[in-house]
Amino acid sequence: MSNQGPKTLFDKIWSEHLVGQREDGTNLLYIDRHLVHEVTSPQAFEGLKLSNRPVHRPEATIAVADHNVPTINRQNIEDPQSKIQVETLAKNTKEHGIQYFDLMDQRQGIVHIIGPEQGITQPGMTIVCGDSHTSTHGAFGALAFGIGTSEVEHVLATQTIVQNPAKNMRISVNGELPFGVNSKDLILYIIGKIGTAGGTGHVIEYAGSSIMGLSMEGRMTICNMSIEAGARAGLISPDQTTFSYIKGRPYAPGTEHWDQAVEYWSSLPSDNDANYDHEIVIDSSEIDPMVTWGTSPEDVVSVKGTVPNPSSAKTENKKKSIERSLEYMGLKPGTKITDIKLDKIFIGSCTNGRIEDLRKVASIVKDKKIASHVQAMIVPGSGLVKKQAEEEGIDIILKDAGFEWREAGCSMCLGMNPDQLKPGERCASTSNRNFEGRQGRGGRTHLMSPELAAASAITGNISDIRDFT
């Protein structure tokens, strides 16, 4: 990457954070903010202790427990191992002087929900977390990516990471989004198009009028699932929508620095003639509401479509992969997606657990009842999302419709806490991964938007929001 010439948003953030080159030729990249949760950090803190190393800049790290936490009966974590892990995070953060939002703190929630909510996430920053969905924060024009636990330890000890630059990919989506199509459909469509390894080695910049027309919540949903397309980070240019979202939040720049920050942020969007290693252009009119049928996020189809036939696969590997998925999912080729009967509905996660998502669901299920054979739960992304929803009366609408209203956390997105699918159970989920066993051993996950999940809760089958009245 040269220092002269037009630059992409990624190039700009990259060069601004370059501390220097090590003798081995690798780059040291400065990390502005480090988010830490209970599952991927204990071994990192243990490593620091064993080598007697301090945390370089404790105030640049913010910690929260989210993966393991129960969504009912918060006072007592029944699983002894989960309990130890949460207690270990409290102890480690206290020992090193790191800010920790404990379970009783209203600010507690999924790490990728609370970063933006608190104004911690800002344009032009580098942000890392021992969690692959760190890509979420790219919605603000921050370079944000998931790291392993050894790297968590490295960041704690040095506030830097050893990294070489990624390649630039731009995906432009243009046009007004068709009725019933929203950010989740858009990103599922993109993953279906480029595949789960399509973005490997790249940072994906999302551009075009469809993307820039989205709210911050919608942009976060898009960037969140960049990792499902293989890209460690997604990026969207910061603009007035971004600045308005950040202004006034607890960790946002105060009035003394606001104008200076906005001036810098406004310099970040990619230069007009910047070069990309890979470009994809999509017309949004070709996108339908999308649903996954298989066990990889790339196994995606229009809600109007059918379960694919393995014999239509282009390669032998793909054919085997479809066969394996269909067997796991208990589906037959040719089945109409809207004929698939559901057992559970899960609304939440760092992909779709924000206030805007909850509002959409409430507007769809208001004065209706969920189907008698389904169990539906809604898990707000943070304590503050929950509080706001309750202030707006959303919780009452949802409970009246038959939803369970829970405390904030990752919950059934990955089922580390007691919220899990039983073998064979089929779930409409607003989360991000439909891997085998992801939501519980033998559980069958269909990823979709909150709108589709809400409509499906009412009918008990996977449903097209466009047919729903």
Binding site: G20, D24, E59, G148, T200, S321, E436
Partner: protein
């Protein structure tokens, strides 16, 4: 970190594409606060039935593959979650090298932090190595020479120089970076002036 120089042994064939880190080590084993002891839970849902009994025909449960040090797997190995428990469990089982046509970025990085060598080969070479693995042919992986040998096959592979050196010498990455402490401090001082809002205490 453990060094990696060369490796000789049987390779286990796992011809599945998109093996994700949830498959490698499911969530219930992420509750540990240790890096060790995860080998018994590697590929848990493919290795054990609902009652916790070994599934006899799963490759890592059959002799001689239960002693494998090498795994040969389908495209896009290690996709999904960033959990370093995935390489920890592979290593604890005894796997020191994984061969595939492609790896997810975070998993690829995590391997090198744990003395595991992920090797990228072409689809044609993967087919050859998959067959060799199934036939229980002994593999030799030579990192200094960047060669995999299996029966008649001799396949060169690419690896970035710094990654190679780190494996060969078992270097402590944090220790190396701390040698640049002055540069890190100077960077911070500079940014405190230029972007003061990033250093505001809350």
């Amino acid at each position: 970190m453990d060094k990696f120089h060369s490796l000789k042994g049987i390779a286990a064939p796992l011809p599945i594409v998109n093996i994700d880190t949830d498959m490698i080590i499911p969530k219930q084993f992420l509750k540990t606060i240790k890096r060790t002891g995860l080998g018994v839970s590697l590929f848990y849902e493919m290795r054990y039935d609902n009652n916790g009994n070994l599934i006899k025909d799963f490759v890592l449960n059959t002799s001689p593959f239960d002693q494998s040090k090498i795994l040969v797997a389908g495209d896009n190995f290690g996709c999904g979650s960033s959990r370093e428990h995935a390489p920890w469990s592979l290593k604890d089982f005894g796997i020191r090298s994984v061969i595939s046509t492609s790896f997810a970025d975070i998993f690829y990085n995590n391997c090198f932090q744990n003395g595991i060598l992920p090797i990228v080969v072409s689809p044609e070479n993967l087919d050859q190595l998959m067959t060799a693995a199934k036939n229980q042919i002994e593999f030799t992986i030579d990192l200094p020479e960047q060669i995999i040998k299996a029966g008649n096959h001799s396949i060169n592979f690419e690896i970035e120089e710094f990654r190679k050196e780190r494996l060969l010498q078992g270097l402590d990455d944090i220790g190396i970076t701390l040698g640049y402490q002055d540069k890190i401090n100077a960077y911070e001082e500079d940014k405190k002036n230029k972007k003061p809002w990033l250093f505001k205490k809350n």
